[in-house]
């Protein structure tokens, strides 16, 4: 497998969606290629950071309005 093929298979690999034979070639390439090892690591870093984007909730007044609407909601 070449590096330019490897970089296009990274997402399928992380989803566990590669055909077994392709996954084996992918894994073999990974063990012998520092560049692709780093590329995969940087994709993982990117994905992990996306999961940590700043947590922002609803403003207190909006939350209060929703809770008031809930209180006034007729029982089902």
């Amino acid at each position: 497998m070449n590096c330019d093929e490897f970089v296009e298979l990274v997402t399928a690999y992380l989803d566990g969606a590669l055909e077994p034979a392709v996954e084996q070639r992918f894994a073999e390439h990974l063990t012998e290629c520092d560049g692709c090892d780093r590329y995969l690591e940087q994709i993982r870093t990117t994905v992990a950071a996306l999961g940590q984007l700043p947590e922002q909730g609803l403003a207190a007044d909006a939350r209060d309005r929703l809770l008031a609407a809930f209180r006034d909601w007729p029982a089902g």
């Binding site: 070449n2 590096c3 330019d4 093929e5 970089v7 296009e8 990274v10 997402t11 399928a12 992380l14 989803d15 969606a17 290629c33 520092d34 560049g35 692709c36 780093r38 590329y39 940087q42 994709i43 870093t45 990117t46 994905v47 992990a48 950071a49 996306l50 999961g51 940590q52 984007l53 700043p54 947590e55 922002q56 909730g57 609803l58 403003a59 909006a62 939350r63 309005r65 929703l66 809770l67 609407a69 809930f70 209180r71 909601w73 029982a75 089902g76």
Partner: protein, 220 residues
């Protein structure tokens, strides 16, 4: 991959949540709003023009949840059902804001073909090692460093906003709010193959944006 959002861990199961909402248990509703609104705001932001619109969409979604919870049939998870309401409202709002994913057009387009890494980064046909890196991607500063982590988040938020709409929506749902691939296909009515192409292209573009950011840093 992540099957449920980390913020879900403190919540009871769907059956309990729905029963408590139907019994008009306000504490349960408050817990749900607090646990899910941050992710819902980010998902709404993938469709609408600004933060203000995103807040409106999330509030409308919770009112929709109130209206529908007595009729919820558990054909999907509660969270997926809530997100389906959210995405419908966000799409409608996005149309009004003139910033939206063309409805029913979440397939791949011309933006979604061709290599995701600049071909110039690889050796050409005349080289003894065609298709291999000219040189490895440069190392990045450690994400353990708080300042690096903060800069990474800033850069990613900006780069995410600049992605083509379809990629932005899929990356947000998969990586920011932690939905599974199957859930995203269900939410957006797209095939598994399309979902993966959009996710892959989006992630590759975001990695490239971070690479550019750290290269600038190294030069300055």
């Amino acid at each position: 991959m992540v099957e449920t959002a980390p913020s879900d861990s403190a919540l009871p199961g769907d059956v309990v949540i729905v029963a408590r909402l139907r019994a008009r248990d306000e504490t349960m509703f408050a817990e749900l709003i607090d646990a899910w609104s941050p992710g819902m705001l980010r998902a709404a932001r993938a469709y609408v023009a600004d933060e203000h619109s995103a807040h409106d969409v999330v509030q409308e979604t919770w009112l929709g949840v109130l209206r529908g919870v007595d009729r919820f049939e558990a054909r999907s998870s509660l969270r997926t059902w809530v997100y389906r309401i959210l995405i419908n409202k966000a799409r409608t709002r996005g149309v009004r804001d003139a910033r939206t994913v063309p409805v029913g057009d979440l397939g791949t387009t011309g933006d979604d073909h061709g290599p995701t890494v600049d071909p110039a980064r690889f050796r050409g046909a005349g080289d003894p090692y065609p298709g291999h890196w000219h040189s490895s991607p440069p190392a990045w500063p450690s994400p353990e460093d708080g300042a690096v982590a903060a800069e990474t988040r800033r850069e990613l938020a900006a780069a995410l906003a600049g992605l083509p709409a379809r990629q932005r929506v899929v990356v947000t749902l998969r990586d920011v709010t932690g939905h599974s691939g199957d859930e995203v296909c269900e939410l957006l009515s797209i095939s598994a193959a399309n979902q993966r192409v959009l996710l892959h292209r989006g992630r590759a573009a975001l990695r490239a944006a971070l690479e550019r950011r750290w290269a600038e840093e190294a030069r300055s």
